[in-house]
Amino acid sequence: MENTELKKLITELSGLMSISGFTSVDGDRLKSLLGDIFDECESTPAGNYRFVKRCGRENARKILIDTHFDEIGMMVTGIRDGGFLNVINIGGLDTAILQAGEVTVYGKDENGVRHDIYGVVASTPPHLRKPGDAMKLRDISEILIDTGYPVNELGKFVSVGTPVGFRPVYSELKNGFIAGKAFDDKACAACAAAAIAETAREDLIGDVILQLSNFEEAGGGMTGALTGAFAEEPDCALVADVNLGRTPDTKKSETVVVGGGTAVTLSPITDRRLSSALIAEARDAGIKVQVCVAAGSTGTNTNVINLAGKGIPTVDVGLPLKSMHTSTEVISMNDAESLKNVIKLFISSGKIAAEI
């Protein structure tokens, strides 16, 4: 897959509506985007999508690749006069980035047919704010979304519980950097799917299951990854999620360089032999990797997958990303390419297979 194709897959997947809990909304679109790469596809009760590519051998190893499909967003909590909506956040959402932003309200008509409504996050003009409140950040419960609909008309499509997401718009920056919503974590899903597509069936070291899991960003307990891994009982797992990228306001020891290659997290909860073998293999192949550490939590689905069932040896890899949880997350296509190649190694390398 060429760089432009991978970029297209990243923006297409990221553009889908898959706010935590609502992963089935664009399920058919997801299947049509990825279905051709895999032998099987199904959804699970927790709202995960499970894509399988078989290696063609009997009693093959089972390799689980997990990326989360859900994205952060909002949910309607009330409808107000003038066509305004109250909302609550789904997942970690900074109200500092909300005001005057563009959103999509994912409404439905009375027959359950999808009816997207454009909205803008309202902001109070500065001269109407109380003195001293000029720099005060509003709580999510004070945020209003302006839909431009009369309230009775709005009620036909929107109710308490209707999901709201960032409007999907993508920009190309210099040097192969791109900006947009929900690269966390669908850019990783795209890299994993591309890696699997580019690996011939006979080169796979086992049956590969790509799990696009629900409930990583919200919904408590990373339930999607946990239940999926329990049902799957794989021999090992690789979790690909985004890593906090270095910006002027962050510490060197807590971030990775965007454009610096794939991040591999070493932790008590990741398998050291598998991780070290993957780092060595990647470096031999000339793929850029950055090593970081975490104590009790990697902040990703690794937290629950490694514990699932009788325990699953897990590797945690990451795509460096700036401005996480905004509508303008920034990644480097070079890093995406690296991640794709690292995942290719993981599912095809004999040295990895020897460690499983």
């Binding site: 609502f22 009760p45 308490v160 519980g161 408590g220 049902a231």
Partner: protein, 331 residues
Amino acid sequence: MYSLIKQIVCCPGTSGSEGATAELLSDIMKDRSDEIYRDRLGNLICRKKGRSENARRVLLCAHMDEIGFIATYIENSGLIRIAPIGGINFTASSYSEVIFENGVAGVLVPDSGVAAGSFAADVFGVDIGASSAAEASRRVKIGDRCAMRQTVRRLGGGRICGRPLDDRVGCAILAEIAEKLAGTETEDDIYYVFSVQEEVGLRGAGPAAFGIRPDVALVYDVTGTGDTAGAKPMEVKLGGGAAIKLRDSSVICNPGLADELAKIGKEKGIKTQFEILRAGGTDTAAIQASASGCIAGAISIPCRFIHSGVETVDLADVKACVDLTVAYLTK
């Protein structure tokens, strides 16, 4: 319904010590289900068999346990030091009557001079009227449990108040659903789960669900309301009907199931409302995360002043929860 609620509410049962409540419910459920057992953690599970061998398994869950206290130390003065079991709001519990499981009565009081803002477990004690450690330890031992007095009374307008309505009202709803379905043959295999240890972190329901492996689960528990003076914004109202949970801080419910319940409510003229709870969790989360997962939702009972001695619910909402569930299971 009120007398059933009263019977279930007035039985003691702090988290981890739900035996008496389980016995009572087991007795109530024996003619309303085909099979009754308790699992290793003490969850009471009552099964009503479905029409066919491979029927869909539907788990209905309410928790038996209530919040309370455990004796940890006896002072020379005879004052009994306690640790909380579950989310105790010491402002709401202070200066109230508590009853130990062996019937010993006492009063829960803060140390003198402690301001309400500094209320916490280690400045509270239970005075059982003893004047020495020796006298106190003849009546209460380290490890004995107590709770604020279990009681319920009618207010006006079909509303009731007392404690622990959280979640004995849910237990009563399950018993009532079982009563209504007892005579009829249902498509689904129905498991009424009266769970343990919800108040200490949703510990009982997960293992129960692991054993049952439900396809669909519905949890019946109380939820807060936005209609009291000074309440944080929340659409749920007392008397507004069965509250179909969309999310709380522990779970996002299956939106398809929530829509289906709302639709049934509308068709059958049963009052429902959607619930989004900002803070608080329910067994729904533990059940959704158990084993390979399931389609999980919750029908909540709107309740004011949760975890106080005057929890208040509207009997019309309780009835709506029962009716909505029966309609869902017999559609």
